[in-house]
């Protein structure tokens, strides 16, 4: 199995605070890998380092063997890593369709002038973009809502839309930051299926942060556990469930789920 994402000794400091210390992990192609840990463990910081929001203090990030450390977020997305956010960041005032179309912008082949003036070849490209987006929305079950404004969607569907939008960039790796945050058990179980489907349908590799242990244990192929910025355990769901350090640091004080 080949390595899609590889983090080598990542350290991220803010002033005197070390948010992530010496993190080394890898995500294999076709797997769902979860990063878990108590609040403030540095999970989101790790994501922000991978997606270029922060530049790590030291360490290296490889994506399909290519060094992507310190690249800008949009460059990283263009290379094939797409993400969602812990506190949903949709383009709220825009429609579902527009949200997904925007994610296709990075694949635009024609230049500003042809595109802006809707020249015939750009029209064709726009048409193809729309067809692709409609197909995607159909696959994720949002097609009937395509003309709705994103902020008018129910919470669960906003989450789905955010994932669909990330998929529209045609990523090779999907990063989900707490996709089940704020969801009730019903919504969580829907999401579990949703992620599984995506993995199969799009042959996707998924790296996610999650608190809901049911979800994590059910769909993860591998789990990494962070505590106070340090990696304290890694392994399969079964191994993690039996790991004493993890139970002490995390499962013991786990409240939500």
């Amino acid at each position: 199995m080949s390595n899609v994402l590889q983090l080598d000794n990542i350290v991220m400091r803010f002033g005197g605070v070390t948010a992530v210390n010496d993190l080394t992990l890898h995500v294999n192609k076709g797997q769902i890998v979860a990063l878990i840990g108590p609040n403030g463990a540095g999970k989101t910081t790790a994501f922000n380092v991978v997606t270029g929001v922060y530049t790590p203090t030291s360490g290296k990030i490889l994506f399909n063997g290519k060094d992507i450390t310190a690249l800008k977020p949009h460059k990283i997305t263009q290379l094939g890593i797409a993400r969602t956010f812990q506190n949903i960041r949709l383009f709220k005032e825009l429609t579902v369709m527009e949200n997904v179309l925007i994610a296709k912008h990075l694949h635009l082949k024609h230049g500003l002038f042809s595109t802006a003036l809707h020249l015939p070849w750009a029209r064709k490209e726009e048409k193809e973009m729309r067809i692709e987006c409609e197909e995607l929305l159909a696959k994720v079950g949002l097609i009937d809502l395509k003309e709705e404004v994103a902020s008018s969607l129910p919470y669960g569907q906003q989450r789905h839309l955010e994932i669909a939008r990330a998929l529209a960039t045609n990523p090779k790796l999907l990063l989900l930051d707490e996709p089940a945050a704020g969801m009730n058990p019903q919504e969580t179980s829907e999401l579990t299926h949703f992620i599984k489907n995506i993995k199969n349908e799009f042959d996707m590799t998924v790296f996610m942060i999650e608190h809901h242990m049911d979800l994590v244990m059910e769909i993860s192929d591998a789990i990494y556990v962070l505590d106070f910025g340090e990696l304290i355990a890694q392994g399969t769901p079964d191994q993690i469930q039996q790991n004493e350090k993890v139970i002490a640091a995390y499962l013991g004080v786990e409240e939500d789920a």
């Binding site: 803010f14 989101t44 922000n48 929001v53 922060y54 956010f85």
Partner: protein, 299 residues
């Protein structure tokens, strides 16, 4: 052109004095920005109104100067806090751009109102012989005012720093500027703290306006525009939100303007552009300003 030591000292003193005036106004910007993250575009015009108040108090109503000055400061404080209440408070939950537009609107309104009420023609600020008297120190001739202005500024800076660092009000101000929502949860009456902040900023603008009027004895509806813009820039140079920074920025800007024009007389026409060029340089080199802290946006 070369400068001999005497001329240089004279320009230096002048630069420090201009800089002190900038500093007084810049503090108002920096305090409001620190708490509301808003460029109070109207601050320069509050300064202008204060100059008119002083003009009316002394030249029209012939009040004794100390009564007039106290009244000017009081009325300006009310004006500043009133503007906050009428134009900014209703927009507390609105997008930031709406508040900024409102601030621009207030600024424009004050300028137009002053033109309408007091006519566009400049009025002469009353003369204060005690201040405009020229002293000869080691061959350098210097106005008393040039020495008084920096002293007043430094004194006010110390009072202000004491308020901010050692009083309950100051603690509340710092709390609000650090985290608005948490401060609210902690039971701090945000609106009151913001009103006080505007009041303090406006009082400094009023003192600045009085000193400004003594230095450049002319009052006009647009007199606040350039100082306003420049002092905001001074606040940015020093690190917006930081009071000491604002004072530092004011001095730097004042000195840069006076000394650059003195050294290169061809720059005279460009004097007002210096601030904006400094702004662009500082934002490129050190966007947080000289004393500002780096803040990362939460994702």
């Amino acid at each position: 052109m070369t400068l001999d030591a005497q001329t240089f000292m004279q320009h230096l003193a002048n630069g420090i004095s201009v800089g002190s005036l900038y500093a007084l106004i810049a503090i108002g910007y920096t305090m409001v920005y620190g708490i509301l993250r808003l460029i109070n575009f109207a601050h320069g015009d509050i300064f202008m109104m204060a100059a008119y108040f002083a003009f009316f108090g002394i030249a029209v109503f012939h009040l004794p100067w100390y009564v007039a000055f106290l009244l000017v400061i009081g009325v300006t404080v009310l004006l500043g806090a009133g503007i906050e209440k009428a134009a900014y408070r209703p927009l507390r939950d609105a997008p930031k751009s709406s508040v900024l537009i409102s601030a621009i609107g207030v600024s424009f309104l004050l300028e137009n109102l002053a033109t309408f009420l007091f006519s566009g023609k400049p009025k002469a600020f009353p003369d204060f012989p005690a201040m405009t008297r020229v002293l000869e120190i080691k061959g350098i001739s210097i106005q008393v005012l040039t020495l008084v202005v920096p002293l007043v500024t430094i004194l006010l800076l110390f009072i202000l720093l004491f308020i901010v660092n050692h009083t309950k009000l100051g603690m509340a101000m710092r709390a609000v500027s650090k985290d608005y929502e948490i401060a609210q949860v902690m039971g701090i009456k945000i609106d009151r703290i913001i009103a006080y902040t505007f009041g303090i900023g406006s009082s400094l603008a009023a003192i600045g306006a009085i000193l400004w009027g003594m230095k450049y004895p002319q009052v006009s509806p647009l007199m606040g525009v350039m100082p306003g813009l420049k002092c905001f820039i001074a606040a940015v140079i020093g690190g917006i939100g930081n009071i000491k920074g604002a004072v530092m920025g004011g001095f730097i800007l004042g000195l840069a303007e006076v000394l650059l024009v003195a050294a290169f007389s061809s720059l005279t026409g460009y004097r007002d552009a210096i601030a904006f060029i400094l702004l662009i340089i500082i934002l490129l080199v050190r966007p947080t300003g000289l004393l500002g802290e780096k803040t990362a946006e939460k994702v």
